[in-house]
Symmetry: C2
Subunit: 391 residues, 2 copies
């Protein structure tokens, strides 16, 4: 059972080919697992070995290339005809100096007469390293390589009705998880016990819909560790009175994510924490109100920055990014960001994780939402009280 | 609180420098998060942006480079002096055509007078993509780049006493988790509910020791899906009578892993499944008996292959790999493998995940152990009944 109709995948491929033509790319090698999934449906935890999807303007369907061990995963999860799912044996792996998967892919392109084409590759994807590129270049000496980083990512921006449904399910999952986690946090409780329940809730899902593993583990520092942006729980630590905690979590369904962050204080929060939280919420609301089709991403960021500047605060880092389909190591789409200088125009059905977090000296406060750009403005996909939670 | 004494990190750096000198490398840029952790202690979920550790034969301590947002994470988790932990602002990110983190790293090397040295980079690491390499090359036109893939990984092979203690804790975690998961599996139970309890057990840990998130989500296909090697649970599926299930799980403590796989049948297993499981266990035991210092990895694989060949079975893919410290997307060390042609000699305290799995037509059986090479032979770090579990 594929998560989308075949027609939806075919429409995606049509858009990818149109973008390729615009950029003068005849063959596209997709190695980002989210992009692979997007055009083909391929879904398995095999992304730690080289694999890819070839889209060629001259070929009707994409061709999926995986490890032999994963052939069954590929035939089960992709929509293409059997002859467009192919697998390499293990001799192409673990032998960096002899054979490489890129040799297999090169030979496949030769077979199809595509060896001297303009080939787009995702130079800046997580899963296309410098060694693979060297091998691919060597295997296809007559090809012209062109940067196609994020070509597919940009097409993934505006979501279909079905994609939005999956993000809604992911949102219900993360809301339930966040609610329960806040309930459980109190002085004396071990961080790893709360983390265990978070995972359990994320995976159990909503009841009707089970959850999947998110692309990033829960970010949930407590106390001084909130001053660092990417800490998880500690294995032996217990929550303490007077501690600030923030949790950045995401539900995941059919690999679609809906991240949500909230900040919690155990005991009576100091004024500066309450004040920071108030400013963050005000800035978040201002930025949400600014979102509508046709404006630039930087305008959204400006609404946030202007608001917090009034209170003498400033945020150096971006305050949001596109979100949706993804695999580890992260759930961003790596396209548009809410940051100064970002001139991308918002379009209906683009989805963002708006991430206003302040990491100040000794503590951090973050209160975020996943949102969808609507025809006229914006609606949040996640729905959870926007405030500092006090326990 | 660092997970190792400063002296242990310094000893690791000494070994890295010795290997660099042997390979004619004056400066090493480490971007693999496990390698970064190994030499510096750095531990945060920030690996989705470019970051690195510079080790130079001319510098006493490594230099850690992270994103400004992660500076606190770096100062908290590394052992080096404050001046050797540095951070770049967000303007180096999300602007592929303007500034890049590799420009920041290039400037740092220039400041230290290292711009014209022989620089080793991990071309074949997950976290060093083709774009980063192009940027680094451009930023350092006078440098000579040399492949240093797995230079640090190989040093990570033989484990210290403390590292083995962490793997033992990870093993206790995965044994408890596997036991509970097998207990819970029965016809009518939802796959995602068992997955939820698995995560909960992995994260709760042993009681005394909490667990961390493993580098790969649980692999746990059921029924026909066992014919694919890298499926996880389904969100809505329920276990059924007559189904085969295998689960590949890993405990994780201080980022050290101990993977374990077992196969379960609900109801009375067909003869061919019982037979395959028996052969897999016999092959596993034969291979475990073969392990000792001084023999090659391929000899271990041969002991397995010879055993299963007697029963008319054959395994195409490798049947084991080095394991220990890791971050997503996988827990392998990417050095030595149990496979034909692998001439690496076993040394005491190397640790492997011995992975004899058979993916046959329509079903798969896998029964594995994490092991340590001892002075005279081998001991398993994971301890769990080696058999097909029948529910």
């Amino acid at each position: 059972m594929l998560p989308f109709e075949k027609a939806e995948y075919q429409e995606r491929v049509r858009k990818v080919k149109a973008s390729m033509e615009k950029q003068g790319i005849e063959v596209l090698l997709i190695t980002d697992p989210a992009n692979m999934n997007y055009v083909s449906g391929y879904d398995a935890m095999s992304y730690y070995v080289p694999q890819g999807i070839v889209v060629a303007t001259s070929l009707e369907e994409p061709v999926c290339i995986v490890r032999l061990q994963d052939l069954y995963c590929a035939t089960e999860t992709t929509w293409m005809a059997e002859e467009n799912v192919t697998a390499y044996p293990d001799k192409y792996l673990w032998e960096p100096k002899v054979l490489h998967v890129m040799d297999f892919i090169g030979d496949l392109l030769k077979e199809k007469g595509l060896q001297d084409k303009t080939i787009g590759v995702e130079f800046d994807a997580y899963y296309f390293n410098a060694h693979w590129y060297k091998k691919l270049e060597k295997s296809l000496p007559d090809a012209v390589f062109k940067d196609a980083t994020a070509l597919v990512n940009w097409i993934r921006g505006p979501k279909s009705v079905r994609e939005l449904e999956y993000m809604q399910i992911a949102a219900r999952i993360v809301e339930k998880t966040m609610y329960n986690a806040i309930e459980r946090i109190e002085a004396g409780v071990r961080e790893c016990h709360v983390a265990a329940e978070i995972y359990s809730d994320l995976v159990k899902g909503t009841g009707v819909y089970g959850g999947e593993y998110p692309s990033l583990a829960p970010i949930m520092p407590a106390g001084e560790r909130t001053a660092g942006a990417h800490f998880s729980w500690t294995t032996e630590g217990k929550y303490q009175k007077g501690q600030l905690i923030y949790m950045e979590l995401s539900g995941c369904y059919k690999r679609y994510h809906a991240p949500l962050t909230r900040t919690i204080f155990i005991g009576e929060p100091p004024e500066r924490v309450k004040e920071t939280a108030k400013v963050v919420v005000e800035g978040l609301n201002a930025a949400l109100s600014a979102v509508k089709p046709g404006i630039t991403c930087e305008e959204v960021e400006r609404a946030w920055q202007t608001t917090i500047n009034k209170y003498g605060l400033e945020k150096e880092s971006r305050m949001g990014y596109t979100v949706g389909l993804s695999y580890p190591p992260v759930w961003t789409e790596n396209t548009a960001y809410f940051k100064p200088g970002e001139m991308t125009l918002l379009k209906p059905d683009m989805t963002f994780h708006m991430m206003p977090g302040m990491w100040l000296d000794g503590y951090g406060v973050a209160i975020t939402e996943t949102l969808r750009v609507t025809e006229k403005g914006c609606e949040t996909i996640t729905r959870f009280p926007r405030k500092l939670f006090v326990k």
